[in-house]
C-alpha cells in the first residue's frame, strides 16, 4: 500500500467524476433537490387529501329510520353528516365510494329504547378505506354521545347520580421523552433510507470507475502505470465511498432542513393520519421528531462498515462486466438484495438477537432503530460493528483479487 499513489488515483477520480453529468446528478442533484422535493410533494398531497377528507361532511345513507324519527332528526341536524337518499343498493353505493357508510337503524328502535330493550345499530362501511373509516369513527362518536345522553336522561329521571354507570375514568398520558417518541416513529425509516441512499450513491461511480473504464479503454492505460493494483483499487474505492457518503449526507441534510422548514405542513398530514386511529390531538406539535443527537452519531458510525461493504461489492461486481450496460444488469438486482433485509428490519416483532446481529444490513436496520430510541445494547453494537467490518474487509480483499485477475480485466 502506498498512500501517495492511492491519493493520486483518488484525486484524479474525484475530478473526473465531478465533471461527469451522470455522477453529479446521482450524487448531488437527486439528494439535494429531488429527494426533499419528492418527500415534500408526497407530504403536501397527503395533507391536502386528508384535510379535504376531514372537512368534507360524511355522506351516509340511513336505512330503516322510519320508526326512529328522533335519531334521524339528530343525524340530519348534525352538520358533519350529509344524509343521502338511497336510490340504489346501499352496498353498491359504499363499494363505489359514493357514500362513506350506511347506518341501519333496526325496526322499532325508539320504542325499544323507551322500553329499555337493547337493539343493535349496524354501520356498513368499506374496510381500510380512508374516508369510510373516518365516517364510521364520526358516526360511532355521534351514537356514543347519543347513548350517553339517553343514559344520563334516564338516571336523572329516576333521581340517580351519573357516576353510577361511570364509576371511573380512563386517561392516557405519555411519559416517554419526545426524542424517544421521535426515534420510534422514524427510527425504522431512517436506517432504511440511509441504507438505500448509501447503495444508490455508490452504484453509479462504481460502474463508471470499472466497467466504464473498460468500455472507454482507459483501464489498460491506467494499468500501464507502475502502481500496484491494490493502490489503484483503494484509490477507486475511496472515490466510491466519497460518492456514497456524500449522497447519503446530502440527502439527509436537505431532508432534515426541509422537514424543519415545512414541519407544520407535514405535521398536519401526520396528525390527521394519527387522528383516525387514536385521538392524538397534539401529534402535530410532536411530529418534528427531536432525534437524539447521540443516536444519530451512532447511526453514522454503524453505517461506515456497511458503506465499505457496498462500495467493495459494487466495485468487484461491476469490474467483472465488460461494458456499462452489462454492469448495470449485474448491479440492479443487488438493490433488491439490499432492500429486503432493510425492510425486514422495519417490521415490528423482528428483534436484535445474537443471530440477527450477524445478518448484514438487517442488523444495521435493527440496531439503528434501537439507538435512535435511546437504547444502547453495547454487546450487540460491538458484534454488529465487528461482523460488518469483517464482511467489508473480505469484500475489499475480493475486490483487490478481482483487479489482479487478468481474465477479469481482459475478459474477451
Amino acid at each position: 500500500m502506498n498512500w501517495n499513489h492511492i491519493l493520486t488515483v483518488y484525486l484524479k477520480e474525484l475530478k473526473d467524476s465531478l465533471r461527469d453529468r451522470r455522477t453529479l446528478i446521482s450524487m448531488i442533484v437527486i439528494p439535494t433537490l429531488v429527494m426533499p422535493g419528492l418527500m415534500f410533494g408526497v407530504g403536501y398531497i397527503m395533507t391536502k387529501v386528508m384535510k379535504k377528507a376531514r372537512e368534507e361532511p360524511t355522506s351516509l345513507v340511513i336505512l330503516g329510520g322510519a320508526e326512529a324519527p328522533g335519531v334521524v332528526a339528530a343525524l340530519r341536524a348534525e352538520p358533519k353528516f350529509r344524509i343521502v337518499e338511497a336510490k340504489a343498493d346501499y352496498r353498491q353505493l359504499v363499494s363505489d365510494k359514493k357514500i362513506r357508510l350506511a347506518v341501519e337503524i333496526p325496526a322499532g328502535f325508539e320504542a325499544a329504547l323507551q322500553a329499555g330493550e337493547p337493539k343493535t345499530v349496524t354501520l356498513y362501511h368499506y374496510e381500510g378505506e380512508l374516508k369510510s373509516g373516518m365516517g364510521v369513527a364520526a358516526v360511532e362518536r355521534f351514537l356514543r354521545d347519543f347513548r350517553e345522553r339517553t343514559v344520563t336522561e334516564r338516571l336523572t329521571h329516576r333521581g340517580l347520580p351519573v357516576s353510577l354507570v361511570k364509576p371511573f375514568e380512563v386517561k392516557r398520558q405519555n411519559v416517554a421523552p419526545p426524542e424517544k417518541v421521535g426515534g420510534n416513529i422514524i427510527g425504522g425509516i431512517i436506517p432504511y433510507m440511509i441504507i438505500i441512499l448509501c447503495f444508490t450513491g455508490a452504484m453509479y461511480p462504481a460502474i463508471d470507475l470499472t466497467a466504464g473504464e473498460k468500455e472507454r479503454g482507459t483501464m489498460e492505460t491506467l494499468l500501464c502505470s507502475p502502481l500496484r493494483r491494490v493502490n489503484i483499487v483503494l484509490g477507486k474505492f475511496l472515490m466510491v465511498m466519497t460518492a456514497s457518503v456524500a449522497t447519503m449526507a446530502l440527502s439527509l441534510v436537505s431532508m432534515g432542513l426541509s422537514v424543519v422548514a415545512g414541519g407544520s405542513l407535514l405535521g398536519g398530514g401526520r396528525a390527521a393520519a394519527a387522528a383516525s386511529s387514536a385521538g392524538a390531538k397534539d401529534a402535530a406539535a410532536g411530529f418534528i421528531p427531536l432525534l437524539d443527537p447521540l443516536g444519530v452519531l451512532g447511526v453514522f458510525a454503524m453505517i461506515l462498515p456497511v458503506a465499505i461493504l457496498f462500495a467493495a461489492v459494487l466495485l468487484a461486481v461491476a469490474l467483472f462486466a465488460k461494458s456499462y450496460k452489462e454492469a448495470q444488469s449485474y448491479v440492479s438486482p443487488l438493490i433488491i438484495v439490499i432492500i429486503m433485509p432493510a425492510v425486514l428490519g422495519m417490521l415490528p416483532g423482528i428483534e436484535l438477537t445474537a443471530k440477527t446481529a450477524l445478518v448484514p444490513i438487517l442488523n444495521l436496520s435493527l440496531v439503528c432503530k434501537e439507538m435512535l430510541s435511546g437504547v444502547w445494547h453495547w454487546p450487540y453494537i460491538a458484534l454488529i460493528f465487528g461482523s460488518t467490518t469483517v464482511y467489508a474487509g473480505v469484500a475489499l480483499a475480493a475486490c483487490v483479487w478481482m483487479f489482479n485477475r487478468e481474465d477479469v480485466i481482459f475478459r474477451a
Partner: protein
C-alpha cells in the same frame, strides 16, 4: 533493452479451448534499435507486447525489460516502459495536460518535473494548441499525440508501440513514425508491432515475423531479403509464414 526468453501465453477460451497466443517466443532488442513485430490479425502481437508491459503474466518463460524481470519485478518494469496501444485510451473528461500530468504523478514525478517535461513534449509533438482542451473532443491524431506524450512523460528507457498508426491519416501517421525514429535516435529501446509492410521496411532495424504465436523469422531487412530471395516485404512475409494457405488457415481459427 528487451530480452524475451521462451515467452509463452496460453489462454483458456470457453469455445476454442486452449490457445497458445504466444508460443515460446525469444528475441532481443537493444537500446537504439527498433524491433518490428510483424504479424497478421490474431498472430499474437498484442499479447506479446502486453506480456512485455506486464499487463499479462506469462504462462511460461520470461523476459527482461530495462533490466527488470517481468515476472519477478513487474512494478519496476512498468516504471521504465512506455506502452502505447489502440486499447490504451485517454480519459475523455480530462484535458490533455491533466491526462499527462496524472501519468507523471503516477510515475512518481514532481509537479515541477512534469511541467518542464510536458513543455518539451508539447513542443516536439506540436500539441500546444489543444493542451488545455478535453480529450473527448479530440481528433484521432490529437488523441494519438496526447497518448504518446502520456507514454513519454517519465522518459522511459523502453518504448512499446502496438500498431500506433492504425486508423490515422497519412500526415499524422508520418508524424508518429518520425517520432518513433526520434525515440530510437535518443538511445531508447523500441519495439513496434504492425501489419503494415511498408512501415516495417522503412522503420525497423530488426524484423520479427510472428505467426500463430510463434516467431517464424527474424533478422534485418537485408538478411530476410537474402534468406527468402525476395525484395518485397510482403512476399517475404508470406513465404515466412508458410505460404498463403497457411496464412488463410491461421486467420480462420
Amino acid at each position: 533493452m528487451i530480452a524475451a526468453l521462451n515467452l509463452t501465453k496460453i489462454f483458456k477460451d470457453r469455445k476454442r479451448g486452449m490457445i497458445a497466443a504466444v508460443d515460446q517466443v525469444s528475441f532481443t532488442c537493444r537500446p537504439g534499435q527498433i524491433y518490428g513485430l510483424l504479424g497478421a490479425n490474431g498472430a499474437g502481437k498484442t499479447t506479446t507486447l502486453r506480456l512485455l508491459a506486464t499487463l499479462l503474466q506469462p504462462t511460461r518463460g520470461t523476459a527482461t525489460v530495462a533490466g527488470h524481470d517481468v515476472v519477478a519485478d513487474p512494478v519496476q518494469v512498468r516504471a521504465h516502459v512506455g506502452f502505447l496501444a489502440a486499447s490504451t485510451a485517454l480519459y475523455g473528461r480530462l484535458t490533455a495536460r491533466e491526462m499527462i500530468t496524472y501519468f507523471g504523478r503516477l510515475n512518481g514525478m514532481t509537479d515541477a518535473a512534469i511541467r518542464a517535461r510536458l513543455q518539451v513534449l508539447a513542443g516536439e509533438l506540436d500539441m500546444d494548441e489543444f493542451l488545455d482542451r478535453r480529450c473527448d473532443k479530440f481528433s484521432t491524431g490529437m488523441k494519438q499525440k496526447t497518448s504518446i506524450a502520456r507514454t513519454l512523460i517519465h522518459d522511459p528507457a523502453v518504448m512499446i508501440f502496438d500498431e500506433p498508426t492504425l486508423g490515422l491519416d497519412v500526415m499524422t501517421a508520418r508524424a508518429i513514425v518520425r517520432f518513433v525514429r526520434q525515440c530510437r535516435d535518443r538511445g531508447k529501446t523500441v519495439i513496434y508491432s504492425t501489419h503494415v509492410m511498408s512501415e516495417v521496411e522503412k522503420l525497423c532495424d530488426v524484423i520479427g515475423i510472428i505467426h500463430a504465436g510463434r516467431l517464424v523469422a527474424e533478422g534485418t531487412l537485408a538478411e530476410l531479403q537474402a534468406r527468402y530471395g525476395e525484395r518485397d516485404m510482403e512476399e517475404i512475409f508470406v513465404k515466412a509464414v508458410g505460404g498463403e494457405a497457411a496464412l488463410a488457415a491461421a486467420l480462420n481459427t
